[in-house]
């Protein structure tokens, strides 16, 4: 791709990601509605898709309010940070054989780095709000992200070992002989759970936990800044689904259809799976989440690492 094309493509990816996130707000509610024996937003436009525009309009025109007791500049910066880092994460996603903004040899690390930065957004938002519920949400999120970050990264090392590269395009290419969700099912399992924890969605939405902390870290947020937090959450959901597709389900690989379509279908199904999880599972308690992480997830990841390492050595080491 020429430089001009890359810039255009980058803009397209950005627009596509934000647009998908917006549509996802509507799609998620419809899907939840179907599973919960109700309609969801179905009035405006075909199947209620106009709801997206209506919601946008409402959120954009709301009073842009900064509480007088908040730390103003940090309060404003926090929600923007999550959107920026999530959008940056899309830079390394391989949508097709040559369809990516950039293919760097540390693509996977770049993705991990960007998503870990998102914790700052939550923490800064919580602390700058100067609100007790937000503080409790921030505390939870710090603990949760720090522990789940550890094995989120470790769970992907198996994939890297089998491929021998951090480049996402190489990882996709390496799956021509078999998608990694078979050989790396433990890695996938841990990564999915860590990913939900990272994107703090139900059942791991403890930093928010509406029933306990009213709205947790974003209690004081409204209007546009609240929208940015939500946008960040949905971008995170899409990004993580893209990554699961790339890392475990062969990325754009697939017969007959164009690669980008395959990529889209796989990502879409994974997003639906995340929404189903949200509909089905109750929220564990904070200390239960921690012990799940350190006592079950971490050992599982380590076992996966050791076994994969041994297999990789046996296969390629000789």
């Amino acid at each position: 791709m020429s430089e001009g094309m890359t810039i255009l493509f980058a803009l397209a990816v950005m627009g596509g990601a934000v647009g998908s996130a917006a549509v996802l707000t509507w799609f998620e509610r419809r899907l939840l509605g179907i599973w919960q024996d109700r309609y969801g937003p179905n009035r405006l436009g075909a199947f209620g898709i106009g709801q997206v525009a209506a919601d946008m309009l409402k959120l954009l025109t709301k009073h842009d309010w900064v509480p007088p007791f908040a730390d103003k500049w940090v309060f404003i910066f926090a929600p923007t940070a999550i959107v920026i880092v999530m959008l940056l994460g899309f830079a390394v996603v391989p949508f097709g054989p040559d369809l990516h903004i950039i293919d760097i040899n540390i693509g996977l690390l770049f993705f991990l780095g960007m998503t870990s930065l998102a914790v700052y957004s939550v923490l800064l938002g919580a602390l700058s709000s100067n609100n007790k519920y937000a503080l409790l949400g921030g505390l939870r999120s710090a603990a949760q992200m720090v522990s789940y970050e550890v094995f989120m990264g470790l769970s992907l090392i198996g994939v890297v070992m089998l491929t021998g590269s951090f480049s996402l395009q190489d990882i996709v290419e390496a799956q021509r002989d078999g998608w990694y969700f078979i050989s790396q099912f433990l890695g996938l399992f841990v990564f999915v759970i860590a990913a939900i924890a990272e994107s703090h969605r139900l059942p791991f939405d403890l930093p928010e936990a509406e029933h306990e902390l009213t709205a947790g870290f974003h209690t004081e947020y409204s209007g546009m800044k609240f929208t940015l937090f939500m946008l960040g959450e949905y971008l995170g959901l899409i990004l993580i689904s893209c990554m699961i597709t790339t890392l475990f389900f062969g990325g754009w690989l697939g017969p007959w259809l164009p690669p980008i379509v395959w990529f889209g279908i796989k990502t879409f199904l994974i997003i639906c799976f995340f929404i189903l999880l949200r509909a089905a599972i109750p929220r564990p308690r904070y200390d239960q989440l921690m012990s799940l992480g350190w006592k079950i997830m971490l050992p599982l990841t380590l076992i996966n690492l050791v076994v994969t390492g041994a297999v990789a050595l046996w296969m390629y080491g000789g």
């Binding site: 599973w35 007790k132 059942p203």
Partner: protein, 583 residues
């Protein structure tokens, strides 16, 4: 199950007379047959301690402003009376003790040292009637705001806004009111710091998604661990008891609907039973069965809301929609029968408002046929979910003794293994005609409180099916002259009946003087209306004893040392609505 006959003989009186001497007491005649004794304040503690091993539950404690009451034959002089209503689970009996105080110095000793749950009741009596309880640990207002002037249930306190100056809220007053609501830990004997670290004090509510209404719990937190909690109620207080003193007997019915607003006509029942007891009205068989059927349908409805919100508060998103969909179908049936949905106000003194509509059998049958399979489905989804179990098993535990000490009744009591259901113990309103079991559980934790309620839904379905199969023929309302609306058939034939009809529909019936209180097993526990008639068209005193009031009082006891999410699980498992607490 062991059903103890309700004791109406007066062996307890004989024992009391023997122990304390007959001249220590004045016996009062009551319409409901509950032994009612007046005694002196200096004997109060001794008598209560003597009674406590047998009469283990302080069922209710309230005050009466007697200053305008005319029909007090045989009762000692009193301006403000304090009533202690005790309940014995072992011998299935009640006893009522009364203490007279003069207007000049309405003061009685506190009994918080005998029963812990007397604390809130005494605060309420202080708040409402200005009766002082000596040595009470924190005798603050409980239902009305701290800035309130006067005591609302005194007869000289205005009952309507139109009797007061127009209300206005300027900035200074707003600031003052807000300041008065600030939580002050030192008032409750709490430390603000320990070993150099400060505790966080968090107002959970009055506006919070999980407190089921307007309810504040001031939490003393160490990280997320609840060190102590102070529940603060009164935000939903609408003066239902005061309204009882100005509405005519039948026109108070819609107000009862709104006490436990999930219980619908279940609230009408204890009111009707008490009025009917005072008036001596016998309810026809068909009316009895209709009442039981509607009451049980509302028990199902209320428990479905509990079930849904219980799992929702633990963070499971979907089940609540299924339960609310079932509740909608139930409301469809209730609407077809009564014309109302949540608040039908459909029971009448002496019966119900109309006969059942044509085709009601089909609606009810469809519903009760479909429910068991759906409940099994919910079981798999919610009650057998391991995450739900890990969040609720062993959380918010109390023993049977603690439950009784704190006045806990209903499913919350049965979750501790106490087999006590008034529908079995005192088959009021015709429950002796029905076959059903009383579900109990053993551990008294949040999970078991849910288990009991889920099983109660199944038992209620069983009762409704028996109503459906055996609905008797006959009138749906008694033809007693004090029923409402009064019989109209011969009003156009003789002038006497026309006059009575006119007076009863305009002023309302005059219910004979007396006192009656008939507790029932409502959706959330024991509910009763202690009604005092002074021989007039309105009640002289309407005392509403609701189950949720004592249930909230023991929240601190069971939540200390747990975390905020546990507290939310406890609140969800108690099953209360604030209207049922504040009245």
């Amino acid at each position: 199950m062991l059903v103890v006959e309700q004791t109406t003989d007066n062996t307890v009186l004989a024992e009391l007379f023997e122990k304390f001497g007959e001249d220590s007491f004045v016996v009062q005649k009551s319409s409901d047959g509950i032994p009612t004794l007046w005694l002196q304040a200096n004997k109060l503690h001794e008598v209560l301690r003597f009674l406590k091993p047998e009469y283990s539950m302080l069922y209710d404690l309230f005050g009466i402003d007697e200053r305008l009451r005319t029909n007090r034959q045989g009762q000692p002089d009193s301006d403000f009376t304090v009533v202690y209503h005790l309940l014995s689970l072992s011998s299935n009996a009640d006893i009522r003790l009364k203490l007279a105080t003069p207007e000049s110095n309405p003061e009685v000793p506190t009994i918080t040292d005998v029963w812990k749950n007397a604390n809130w009741y005494e605060r309420e009596a202080w708040d409402m009637l200005g009766i002082k309880f000596t040595n009470h640990p924190n005798l603050y207002r409980i239902l009305l705001p701290p800035t309130w002037e006067g005591h609302a249930l005194r007869k000289d306190h205005p009952a309507r806004a139109t009797e007061l100056e127009p209300f206005s809220l300027n900035e200074a007053k707003q600031a003052e009111e807000q300041e008065a609501l600030r939580f002050r830990p030192e008032e409750w004997g709490m430390q603000t710091s320990k070993d150099g670290t400060e505790y966080m004090f968090l107002n959970l509510g009055p506006n919070h998604p999980s407190v089921h209404g307007v309810f504040r719990i001031a939490l003393q937190l160490d990280g997320e661990v609840v060190v102590d909690a102070v529940p603060d109620i009164g935000y939903h207080h609408r003066g239902a008891e005061k309204m009882g003193e100005r509405q005519s007997w039948p026109s108070y019915m819609p107000y009862t609907d709104r006490i436990d607003y999930l219980g619908g006509v279940m609230n009408n029942l204890p009111y009707c039973l008490s009025v009917e007891k005072l008036a001596g009205i016998e309810v026809p068989e068909r009316a009895k069965v209709i009442r039981i059927m509607l009451a049980e349908l509302f028990r199902i409805s209320s428990h479905l809301v509990f079930y849904g919100t219980f799992v929702q508060d633990i963070g499971q998103m979907s089940p609540v929609f299924y339960m609310f969909a079932d509740r909608e179908r139930l409301f469809g049936i209730i609407e077809a029968i009564t014309g109302g949905r949540m608040h039908p106000a459909w029971f009448r003194i002496g019966g119900v408002a109309q006969d059942l509509p044509n085709g009601w059998e089909k609606l009810v049958k469809e519903f009760i046929d479909s429910m068991p399979a759906r409940l099994d489905h919910y079981d798999k989804m919610a009650m057998q979910n391991s995450l739900i179990k890990s969040r609720t098993v062993g959380i918010g535990k109390y023993s049977a003794e603690e439950a009784i000490e704190w006045g806990v009744t209903g499913p919350n009591l049965r979750a501790t293994g106490v087999d006590w259901d008034l529908r079995k113990q005192r088959p009021y309103a015709g429950y002796d005609q029905f076959e059903f079991e009383v579900p109990i559980a053993q551990n008294g934790d949040s999970y078991d409180r849910a288990v009991v309620r889920v099983e109660e839904i199944r038992q209620s379905l069983r009762i409704v099916r028996q109503c459906l199969d055996n609905m008797p023929e006959g009138p749906y309302k008694s033809d007693h002259k004090l029923t409402s609306p009064p019989p109209k058939e011969s009003t156009m034939e003789d002038i006497e009946t026309l006059i009575h009809h006119f007076l009863h529909t305009s002023w309302g019936p005059v219910i004979p003087a007396g006192e009656a209180c008939i507790p029932i097993e409502a959706t959330k526990g024991l509910n009763s209306y202690h009604l005092i008639s002074d021989g007039s068209t309105t009640s002289y005193r309407t005392r509403i004893r609701t189950p949720s009031f004592p249930h909230l009082q023991q929240i601190p006891l069971i939540s200390r040392g747990l975390m905020i999410p546990d507290l939310i699980a406890i609140i969800a498992s108690i099953d209360f609505v604030m209207a049922d607490v504040d009245r």
